[in-house]
C-alpha cells in the first residue's frame, strides 16, 4: 500500500461488482468480499452488489466467501472504473470457481471451455481424459477402459499441451497408450483453452491447451479438510482421496496443503465377459506451501504420481497371424476372460511422474513479475510377456528428466491495455533401457512470447506472438557394435494468434480467433524403429520430417435470452495443418523378422484439414428443470491424398435432463439427472483401394444412458454430499472407434458409481 501511494498515482478508481449464485442466478446478499493486499472487507447488499471506492490502478486479488460456499479468489485488473459480475457456485458445486464476466474491464474472452463444480464432481474416481471428455468437442483415445488420453477436435498426444498446476507436463505423451500422468483429484477446475493464451505455454499447441488447476490456497486462518471416497461396481474400483490445508493464526503469511489419492481396481467387466488383467492401482500425493506477504506471493509444490496398469492379455500380439486370429474371433477366447481379481500381471505398465515447482510472484503497482522454476521426472516401464518367467525386468524403460525456468511480466498501460511478456528455457534428457523405441536424447528449448489485450466498451481484442528454438541431440547404441547412431536436429517454431470479441448486447456475444501454431516433430516421429506389440506393426520414423504448421480459424457465438431460460453457444472451426505428421501403413512392404512378417508403418507428412462444429444449448422451461443438448461434429481430411484421416472421433449428440429439488431442512442440493449419449458410426475412414489401412471396419453407432442422483445431507453439523451414478445403465454391448481394444473386446458394461464427500472446515 505504501509503495502504491508513494508512486503518486491517481487512486480514485471504483471497483463495483455483483454476485450471483451460478446455478440459481439468485442474487447473493451478505457475501463477504476481501481485497487482502489492502486489508479491505465489504459485504454485498440485498441486491448482491458491492463497491470499493478510491482504489489505485493495479491488479487485485478478490476473495469472495458466502455462507455454505467455498472461499474463492480471483484476480481483477483495474485501470479505470470497472464492474465485475461474479458467479458463485453454491454448495453442491463445492469444488467451486468464480467466473468473472467483465462488462467494462479487461478480461479474457478467448476460446475456453471449463469443467468445474458439479460437473467435475461427477467425474471423481475416473481418469483425467474421462473427465475432460465431458467438455463438448473433447473425446478420448483409449486402450481398453483404464488407459485413456484426451482428444481435442481430433488432435491428441503431442499436439495438446497439458499444464499441470502451471507447469507444462513433460511425459512420454507420444504413445497412443500413454495416458497423462496426472491425479485428477488435484484439479479444482479443468479448462481447455485455444487461441492467444496458448502462447504462454508453447508455440506448438496445435490441438489446444488443457489447464489442470487446483483451488487457490486457503485465504483465512484456520483449516480446511476434505475426504472423498468412491466405489464403482463394475471393476470393484475404490478410491479414497483426502485433502488438508491450514493457515496458522500466528503466521498468517504461510499456508500449506497436503493432498493424496489411492485408487485400485480389479478386472473390467463387459456385458458378456470379464477381461483378465485389466486392473489398476494408483498412489498419488502432493504438497503445497504458500507464502504471501505484501506484494510477494510464493508457492512451492511437489507432486508424486504412480500408477500400475494391466493390459488385456488377449491383445498382446506375437505376430500378424496371431493378431488376425485374435480379431477374427469376434470375442476374446475364454482363456483371456473370467478372472475376477485385483492382481496385475504381464503385460503391464508402471508409470511414475514427479513434479517440483516453485512460483514466485512479485506485485509492484501496475507490474507483476513471476518466476517459475520446475523439475519433472517421468519414469515409464513396460513389462511385456517374456519367454523367461524368471525375468522380472521391464522390456521398455524410459526416463525423461525436464527442467524449466520461466520469467514473465504483466503490466498495464494507458486505459485499456494489459501486456504479458515472458521468456523460458527447457532442458530435457531422455534415457532408455531394454527394447529400443525412442533414442537417448538431450534437448534445449528457448522461447519468448508477448501477449497484449485491449478492451473498450463492447470490443475485446487480444493478440500474441511466440518464438521457440529447439535443439535435439540423439544417441543410440546400435546392436552388437560400439557405433552410436547420432543425430542433431534444430527446429524453429513460431506461434501467433489474434482474437476479437464483440458483445452486441449483454446476451449476444461473438468471438473470432485465428491462430498459427508450429510443432517440431517429436523424437518418436523422427527416430522410432521397432515392433509395436499393441498393434503388431513395425513402426519406422523419418528423419527428414519438417515442422508441422497449423492455421486454425474459429468463430464462437453465444446467445441467451434475457430471462436466461434459454442459451446457445456454438463454435465453428477450421484447422488447416500443413506437413501434418501421421503414420501411413505400407501394406505391400512387410518387414520380415524371425517372429514372422509385420506390416510396415512409416511416418510421413501431408496437408490436412480438420474442420467441425460444437454446439451446446441449455433450456430451462421451469426453474428446477434443465435440458442440455451438446452436439459435436468433425470432418478430417488428408488434402494430398483426397482421403479421410484415420482414427478421428465420430459425430456425437448428448442430451441431459436434470431436475433440482427444493432444499429441505436437512437435505439440500438434491438433484436427479439422466443423460443419453449417442455416438454415430465413423463412416469417414481411409479408403482401402491402395491396400489395407485398418484391421477391422469401424464399429457401429451406439447409445448409452447414464443417470445420477445426488444430495447433501447435514449430519453431525457437516454437509455430507453423496451421489449414485449408473453409467451404461442398460448394459449396452458396444465398441468405440477410438479404442484400440475395439479389435478384440467390447466396452465396459453397467457401472454403478457411489461417491461420498465430507468437508471439514474451521475458519477464524
Amino acid at each position: 500500500m505504501g509503495l502504491l501511494m508513494a508512486n503518486g498515482q491517481q487512486c480514485s478508481l471504483d471497483l463495483k461488482g455483483h454476485i450471483e449464485d451460478a446455478d440459481s442466478k439468485e442474487k447473493l446478499s451478505g457475501a463477504t468480499v476481501f481485497i487482502d493486499s489492502l486489508g479491505l472487507v465489504l459485504t454485498t447488499d440485498e441486491r448482491g452488489d458491492f463497491i470499493f471506492k478510491g482504489l489505485c490502478p493495479g491488479t487485485y486479488r478478490l476473495r469472495v466467501s458466502h455462507v455454505g460456499c467455498e472461499t474463492i479468489e480471483e484476480e481483477v485488473a483495474l485501470n479505470k472504473n470497472r464492474h465485475v459480475d461474479i458467479n458463485l457456485p453454491h454448495l453442491k458445486n463445492t469444488l467451486s470457481e468464480v467466473t468473472i464476466n467483465s462488462l467494462s474491464g479487461i478480461q479474457n474472452t478467448g476460446t475456453k471451455n471449463e469443467l468445474s463444480g458439479r460437473a467435475l464432481e461427477a467425474t471423481k474416481g475416473e481418469s483425467l481424459a474421462e473427465a475432460l471428455s465431458r467438455i463438448n468437442g473433447v473425446s478420448m483415445l483409449q486402450t481398453g477402459s483404464t488407459i485413456s488420453k484426451p482428444v481435442i477436435h481430433g488432435l491428441h498426444s503431442n499436439r495438446i499441451l497439458t499444464i499441470n498446476n502451471g507447469v507444462r507436463q513433460e511425459g512420454q505423451q507420444w504413445g497412443n497408450e500413454h495416458a497423462p500422468e496426472i491425479d485428477p483429484y488435484i484439479a479444482g477446475k479443468l479448462t481447455v483453452i485455444k487461441g492467444v493464451d496458448e502462447l504462454k505455454y508453447g508455440s506448438d499447441a496445435i490441438g489446444g491447451v488443457i489447464l489442470v488447476e487446483p483451488k487457490p490456497l486457503l485465504g483465512l486462518p484456520g483449516y480446511n479438510a476434505e475426504l472423498n471416497a468412491g466405489y464403482f461396481t463394475n471393476n470393484q474400483l475404490y478410491v479414497v482421496s483426502g485433502l488438508f490445508e491450514q493457515q496458522l493464526k500466528a503466521l498468517p503469511a504461510f499456508t500449506y496443503r497436503l493432498q493424496g489419492t489411492f485408487r485400485k481396481a480389479a478386472n473390467v467387466t463387459t456385458p458378456n465377459y470379464r477381461l483378465n488383467n485389466t486392473g489398476l492401482e494408483e498412489q498419488n500425493f502432493s504438497v503445497t506451501a504458500g507464502w504471501k506477504k505484501h506484494q510477494l506471493n510464493s508457492e512451492l509444490f511437489y507432486s508424486f504420481f504412480n500408477t500400475q496398469l494391466g493390459i488385456f492379455k488377449g491383445a498382446h500380439i506375437g505376430n500378424l497371424s496371431d493378431l488376425r486370429e485374435a480379431i477374427a474371433g469376434g470375442q476374446p477366447d475364454a482363456v483371456f476372460t473370467g478372472q475376477n481379481t485385483y492382481h496385475i500381471e504381464r503385460p503391464r505398465q508402471e508409470v511414475r511422474h514427479q513434479i517440483l515447482k516453485s512460483k514466485t510472484i512479485l506485485q509492484k503497482g501496475k507490474h507483476k513479475y513471476s518466476l517459475l522454476l520446475s523439475a519433472q521426472i517421468n519414469d515409464r516401464k513396460e513389462f511385456d510377456i517374456v519367454r523367461n518367467s524368471n525375468n522380472k525386468s521391464p522390456q521398455m524403460d524410459i526416463s525423461l528428466v525436464t527442467f524449466s525456468e520461466e520469467l514473465t511480466r504483466e503490466w498495464i498501460t494507458g486505459k485499456n491495455f494489459t501486456h504479458t511478456a515472458g521468456i523460458n528455457s527447457v532442458q530435457q534428457e531422455n534415457q532408455y533401457a531394454g527394447r529400443y523405441f525412442i533414442p537417448y536424447y538431450k534437448s534445449l528449448n528457448l522461447g519468448a512470447f508477448y501477449i497484449v489485450k485491449w478492451n473498450k466498451e463492447k470490443w475485446d481484442i487480444q493478440s500474441g506472438v511466440r518464438f521457440d528454438q529447439k535443439n535435439i541431440n540423439t544417441n543410440r547404441l546400435l546392436a552388437d557394435s560400439v557405433v552410436f547412431d547420432q543425430y542433431t536436429f534444430n527446429f524453429s517454431t513460431l506461434g501467433a494468434s489474434l482474437n476479437a470479441g464483440y458483445a452486441f448486447t449483454k446476451q449476444l456475444k461473438v468471438n473470432g480467433t485465428i491462430t498459427l501454431a508450429t510443432r517440431a516433430p517429436y523424437v518418436n516421429e523422427l527416430l522410432s524403429n521397432g515392433i509395436h506389440h499393441g498393434t503388431a506393426t513395425y513402426e519406422i520414423g523419418n528423419i527428414n520430417l519438417k515442422e508441422e504448421q497449423s492455421i486454425n480459424t474459429s468463430l464462437n457465438m453465444s446467445w441467451r435470452n434475457s430471462s436466461e431460460t434459454f442459451s446457445i453457444q456454438g463454435t465453428v472451426y477450421r484447422n488447416q495443418i500443413n506437413n501434418f505428421i501421421y503414420q501411413q501403413p505400407k501394406p505391400n512392404e512387410p518387414v520380415l523378422t524371425i517372429a514372422g512378417a509385420f506390416p510396415k508403418w512409416v511416418y510421413q507428412q501431408n496437408n490436412a484439414v480438420l474442420s467441425g462444429t460444437d454446439i451446446t444449448t441449455r433450456l430451462q422451461p421451469v426453474k428446477s428443470l434443465t435440458w442440455t443438448i451438446k452436439y459435436a461434429m468433425l470432418r478430417a481430411t488428408n488434402r494430398d491424398l483426397r482421403d479421410w484421416l484415420i482414427r478421428m472421433p465420430a459425430d456425437r449428440i448428448q442430451n441431459e435432463l436434470s431436475w433440482d429439488f427444493k432444499d429441505g431442512k436437512r437435505w439440500s442440493k438434491t438433484f436427479v439427472s439422466a443423460e443419453m449419449v449417442y455416438i454415430a458410426e465413423q463412416t469417414r475412414v481411409p479408403d482401402e483401394k491402395n491396400g489395407e489401412q485398418d484391421y477391422k471396419a469401424a464399429p457401429e453407432a451406439y447409445t448409452l444412458v447414464n443417470a445420477t442422483l445426488g444430495t447433501t445431507v447435514e449430519l453431525f453439523k457437516l454437509p455430507i454430499t453423496v451421489s449414485i451414478t449408473a453409467r451404461n445403465m442398460f448394459n449396452v454391448v458396444y465398441r468405440d472407434y477410438l479404442n484400440s481394444m475395439r479389435y478384440f473386446t467390447d466396452e465396459m458394461g453397467t457401472n454403478i458409481q457411489l461417491r461420498l464427500k465430507i468437508p471439514f472446515k474451521h475458519l477464524h
Partner: protein
C-alpha cells in the same frame, strides 16, 4: 522485504540446482534381452552320412538388413535327426537362446508344419518334463521327390502355470508366437 525476496529466490534456485546435480548421466544404451536373430537346423542322416545345416539369420535383429534364409535341401527317402538351435547374435558373445527354452520346456512348444508337396514328415519330437512335445529335436523322413515349404513355429505359454496340453493346436489361444519361420524345401 527486499531481503526476504532475495532469500526466497536463493532457496528456490538452490533447490533446482540440487535436483539438477542429482540426475544420472549415461549415454543411450539399449539392450533388448528378448531378441532371437537366428534359427539353425542341424541335419544328421540316420545311419551315417554328411551333416548339413540350414539357417534363418537376421544378425541385426528385427528391422535393418533383410534376413537371409537357406533352402532346406534333403536327399530322397532318408531319415534325419534334426537339432534346432536359436541364437541371439546382437550380443557379444553370441547367446544360445535354446538353453533358455529348454529350461522352461513346459512353457514352450515347437510346431513343424510341412506343406503337402514337400514330401517331408516330421515325427519323434522330444518332450518336456511332463511328457508333452517340446520339439527342439525331431526326426524328419523324406519321400521320393518334393518341392514345398515347412513352417516352424515356437509358441510360448505365458500364463502361470502354463497349462500346456498335448492336444493344443499351433494357434491355441493359450500360447502366443515367439518365432514363425517358413523355409522353402527341396527333396532331390
Amino acid at each position: 522485504m527486499k531481503k526476504n525476496i532475495l532469500r526466497m529466490s536463493l532457496v528456490l534456485v538452490t533447490a533446482t540446482l540440487l535436483l539438477n546435480a542429482c540426475k544420472k548421466d549415461k549415454p543411450g544404451e539399449g539392450n533388448d534381452e528378448e531378441v532371437i536373430t537366428t534359427m539353425n537346423l542341424r541335419f544328421t542322416p540316420v545311419g551315417g552320412g554328411t551333416v548339413s545345416n540350414y539357417t534363418f539369420d537376421d544378425p541385426d535383429g528385427p528391422g535393418g538388413a533383410t534376413p537371409t534364409k537357406s533352402v532346406i535341401t534333403l536327399n530322397a527317402s532318408l531319415t534325419y535327426d534334426v537339432q534346432l538351435t536359436l541364437l541371439n547374435k546382437t550380443v557379444t558373445p553370441v547367446e544360445d537362446v535354446t538353453t533358455e527354452i529348454i529350461a522352461e520346456a513346459d512353457a514352450h512348444r515347437f510346431y513343424y508344419q510341412p506343406s503337402a508337396t514337400s514330401a517331408i514328415n516330421v515325427s519323434n519330437l522330444n518332450n518336456d518334463g511332463n511328457g508333452i512335445a517340446l520339439g527342439t529335436t525331431s526326426r524328419w523322413t523324406t519321400g521320393t521327390t518334393g518341392l514345398g515349404t515347412i513352417r516352424i513355429t515356437l509358441r510360448h505359454y505365458a500364463s502361470n502355470p502354463p497349462n500346456k496340453a498335448g492336444a493344443d493346436p499351433v494357434d491355441s489361444p493359450k500360447s502366443d508366437t515367439d518365432i514363425e519361420v517358413i523355409f522353402d524345401t527341396a527333396i532331390l
